[in-house]
């Protein structure tokens, strides 16, 4: 499914239509697992100007964490269910001292914690921010590598979103594509919740700006 929203003045909301931008007093309280927040409280980013307000704060939908959660569950149960039978089936010429099993098991769980932590950090700090002036995409692709892209609201030429598949339809998530004028790079919000509402909100900001 792909929806295109050309940015025409005729699309601006009538006074009776519900606005996606909340009144000033409606602010979302952030939780560690927040993936969609309108005017979030207590969120500030690196290049934020003093009079710039965060209108939308987005992360990828929580469903993208499911493979990592399954991997961590598998790593947790492996020493209990899989490894004993694996070692039983091994025929070694030497007897392995007990210390190796103690250190091996402890290291296994520390490594599992490390896998869970890095997966969560990558999700937590991969963010999309919409302010009244800019659209910002901050990606942490690998360890110690970050990418910061931004587009000014007045440079946005076209907005669209796509959402396909059973899971995307059921959990209401998809990709939002922001096309900008000139040489500026396009910004893609990948796997964000409520893509239609994101497009609607950015459209309203553009209408306000012009």
């Amino acid at each position: 499914m792909r929806s295109q929203r050309p940015l025409e003045p005729a699309e601006s909301k009538s006074p009776h239509t519900r606005s996606s931008i909340p009144p000033d007093k409606t602010r979302t309280i952030m939780s560690p697992l927040t993936a969609f927040a309108v005017s979030p409280e207590g969120v500030h980013f690196e290049t934020q100007e003093s009079d710039e307000e965060v209108v939308l704060f987005l992360r990828q939908h929580l469903i993208v964490l499911v493979p990592s959660v399954l991997l961590v569950v598998l790593l947790i149960v492996a020493p209990i269910l899989i490894l004993p039978s694996f070692f039983d089936s091994l025929i070694l010429p030497l007897e392995i001292p007990a210390g190796y099993f103690v250190i091996g098991t402890a290291f296994w769980y520390i490594m599992t914690f490390g896998v869970a932590l890095t997966s969560f950090l990558r999700w937590f700090f991969n963010i999309y921010i919409v302010t009244q002036r800019r659209i910002i995409d901050i990606d942490f692709l690998h360890l110690l590598y970050k990418e910061f892209s931004e587009a000014r609201i007045d440079k946005v030429q076209d907005l669209s979103f796509r959402s396909g598949g059973i899971f995307a339809a059921f959990f209401d998530y998809g990709d939002v594509i922001v096309q900008t004028a000139g040489d500026m790079p396009n910004i893609d919000f990948t796997g964000v919740p409520k893509p239609a509402r994101v497009v609607e909100t950015i459209s309203e900001l553009i209408t306000k700006e012009t």
Binding site: M30, S31, P32, G42, V43, H44, F45, E46, L94, P97, G99, Y100, V102, I103, A106, F107, I110, M111, F113, G114, L117, T118, F120, L121, F124, F125, I127, I138, F140, L143, L144, K146, F148
Partner: protein
């Protein structure tokens, strides 16, 4: 020194070397978390920093435990 003892001495220092590498990885995670926290200020960030520090402390503890126990 017989073959079995020599094998376990070599194995012990290979394990210790691997654990030292993992400690470096844990330090990198802390640095990564700091870099990320500079980009985004969020209320939950101190909890993540604590988790990264716990991970590093556990990695260092297992490193010294391996030297003592193996």
């Amino acid at each position: 020194m017989d073959v079995a003892t020599l094998t376990f001495v070599i194995l012990k220092w290979l394990v210790v070397f691997g654990l030292a590498m993992y400690c470096l990885f844990a330090v990198v995670i802390i640095r990564q978390e700091q870099l990320m926290a500079n980009v985004l200020e969020e209320t939950f960030e101190p909890v993540l920093r604590l988790a990264a520090i716990i991970h590093l402390v556990a990695s260092i503890a297992i490193f010294f435990a391996a030297i003592l126990l193996l």
